[in-house]
């Protein structure tokens, strides 16, 4: 079996692109779970809203990609804040599983709503002109847009990591994760922090959705399978560490890309297989510190 170098590198890049989405989404899930104790099943649907939203803005209003890269996270994030205030707030005191079931219901509502308008077929959304085409690096042809996705994702991931681990606001957030009542006693408005955290996690998902619009086929169901893979990523990495989520996401994307080259039949199951192995060897996850 011979594999050409350019093919290998191009799959590697594609793996990195997918890994970037895994990283941003699992990061959002981890931040939300840390403070809200809710595993946000709707994350995939909100990712889809980012992508379909960009397509709608382009098609109906002529708003371009760069505006949507900022606007979609804000709009979808605001939508998330409404969800948190109206719905999620009511179930914090209950068992974790109700959070999963409620967000599952929301997912069905959102996806069903979009599906009733746009059906299940793909909507085409092209990359902005500035990023179309590619660069010849000599040893491979680098599509500009894919490179941009990886760079933009890494910047956002590390900015989030920095904000949570190194700033004062992040310190409040981490303290709120440990002991919300004590933090509240120090005069921090924890309910507001919870709302904003959910909004932020959701905004991250929408941002990933806009990034994905030109590379993954845009459709109302695009978030469905992705979210399940991201769940596996979260089980593998454990939700205890921000950096862990980023590294696990990227790493698994790359492994998935390489599997496409060497054994394509397993490319859709490899992440789940790795999850099984991790559960056998290190049940708490690679970066897990589960109580």
């Amino acid at each position: 079996m011979t594999i050409s170098m350019p093919a290998l590198l191009s799959q590697l890049l594609l793996g990195l692109v997918n890994g970037s989405f895994y990283a941003i989404l699992s990061l959002g899930l981890a931040v939300i779970f840390g403070l809200l104790n809710v595993i946000n099943f709707a994350h995939g649907a909100l990712f889809m809203m980012g992508a379909v939203g960009s397509w709608m803005a382009m098609t109906y209003l002529g708003i371009n990609y760069w505006v949507m890269l900022i606007a979609a996270p804000i709009v979808v994030g605001a939508f998330g804040i409404v969800i948190e205030r109206l719905l999620l707030r009511r179930i914090y005191k209950l068992d974790h599983l109700y959070g999963l079931l409620l967000t599952l219901g929301l997912t069905l509502l959102i996806e069903g709503g979009f599906r009733s308008v746009y059906g299940v077929s793909g909507l085409s959304y092209s990359a902005p002109e500035a990023l179309s085409g590619g660069t010849n690096l000599g040893f491979m042809f680098l599509p500009n847009y894919r490179a941009w996705v990886v760079v933009a994702s890494l910047v956002v991931c590390f900015a989030t990591w920095y904000a949570i681990e190194k700033t004062r606001l992040g310190a409040y957030l981490r303290a709120g994760t440990e002991n919300p009542r004590l933090v509240e006693a120090f005069g921090v408005n924890v309910p507001l922090m919870v709302t904003l955290t959910y909004g932020f996690g959701v905004a991250l998902a929408a941002f990933a959705g806009v990034l994905a619009a030109p590379v993954i086929q845009v459709s109302p169901l695009m978030g469905q399978n992705l979210i399940i893979v991201v769940f596996a990523v979260v089980v593998i990495g454990g939700m205890g560490s921000i950096m862990g989520a980023i590294i696990t996401g990227l790493g698994l994307g790359v492994i998935e890309g390489l599997t496409k080259v060497f054994y394509p039949e397993a490319s859709s199951t490899v992440v789940f297989l790795i999850m099984v192995v991790v559960l056998l060897i290190r049940p708490a996850g690679l970066f897990g510190n589960e109580k």
Binding site: L97, L102, G113, S116, V229, A232, F272, M275
Partner: protein, 326 residues
């Protein structure tokens, strides 16, 4: 309480016995029975052991495919086909359960979901499942090689006997000492451990029983309808069975029966409801409701979690308790 539940189950059984003669389509009733069994098996795990499996479609669908394959390709008789399905369900349950009980709570749900998704991809790619088309034209055959099941009415009563037997098994499990330990684990796991119970062993056994019976439900569905498709293994089937149990009432014996009837009816009738609403309100969009059952399903999910967590039977039982207490 005991007396009322005997009356309830007596009337239910009577109703099911005469159903084909009072205008209910046997095929529809059989489908309903299969899902009632599926939801009851699922409830054994969620309602009585407190484990949320998000991967039960794998057992239901896996068994559906296996039964379809062995009866169609190898000419197995229906009872052997069902047995094969139960075994596959139980075996998959053993593997899934063994892996998933390493983690608790929300992780348990995510692991079972991910494992079931893996099964979905296997079903999509494996040669014997025929990918997108699924297994079609599975013969009903003849029970023990003697009684032909081609007739809907015969098939209906065979289905009814199997489902009632499986339901009695579930009821017996719940009321046995084993079932009491499961309840103990659900209420307070650390306490069950401190009392000396090997909690993981009990969880795994409950998982295997639940998976095997879900397999039975899936196999039965294949025999009745004659096909097994990707939608049987898709994660939305796992979501559906959760909804059935939730609507009916978690941890009540009768809840999943009622819940599955409600959900199957909603799935089948929502299109007609949409057309009716469109006529009444002259809003054209309502006619698309039939194609997007998911919106209605999602709405029921949200309402149940927010305002109706005890489910139909849970509320009924609580209401009867209040009336009695007065």
């Amino acid at each position: 309480m005991k007396k009322t539940s005997y009356i309830f189950y007596g009337l239910l059984l009577l109703g099911l016995l005469v159903a084909p003669f009072v205008g209910f389509y046997p095929v529809f009733m059989m489908k309903l029975l299969c899902f009632a069994l599926f939801a009851s098996a699922f409830n054994l795990l969620l309602g009585y052991t407190g484990l949320l499996s998000f991967g039960h479609a794998a057992f239901f669908g896996g068994a559906a495919y296996v039964t379809g394959y062995v009866t169609k390709a190898w000419g197995f008789t229906p009872e052997l086909g069902l047995l094969a399905g139960v075994l596959i369900g139980g075996l998959l349950g053993l593997v899934f359960g063994w892996l998933a009980i390493r983690r608790q709570g929300i992780y348990f749900a995510m692991i079972t979901l991910a494992l079931a998704q893996m099964m979905y991809f296997v079903a999509l790619q494996a040669p014997f499942t025929h990918g997108e088309d699924g297994l079609q034209g599975v013969p009903r055959g003849a029970l023990f090689g003697l009684i032909s099941l081609g007739n809907d009415l015969t098939m209906y009563y065979v289905t009814l006997v199997i489902v009632v037997a499986a339901f009695l098994l579930i009821a017996r499990t719940i009321h046995s000492p084993f079932g009491q330990v499961l309840k103990g684990i659900k209420e307070n796991e650390p306490r069950a451990i401190s009392l000396g119970y090997d909690v993981n062993k009990f969880k795994l056994m409950a998982f295997v029983i639940s998976a095997a019976l879900s397999g039975l439900a899936g196999s039965l569905k294949t025999i009745v309808l004659g096909f097994a498709t990707l939608s049987d293994v898709h994660w939305s089937a796992s979501g559906h069975v959760i909804l059935m149990t939730l609507v009916g009432g978690l941890g009540t014996l009768s809840g999943p029966l009622v819940g599955s009837a409600v959900v199957v009816l909603v799935d089948n009738k929502v299109g007609e409801l949409g057309n009716l609403l469109a006529r009444l309100t002259s809003i054209e969009w309502f006619t698309t409701l039939g194609e997007s059952v998911t919106i209605v399903t999602g709405l029921i999910f949200v309402l149940c979690v927010l305002a109706f967590r005890r489910g139909i039977m849970g509320e009924t039982i609580a209401w009867m308790g209040r009336v009695r207490g007065r």
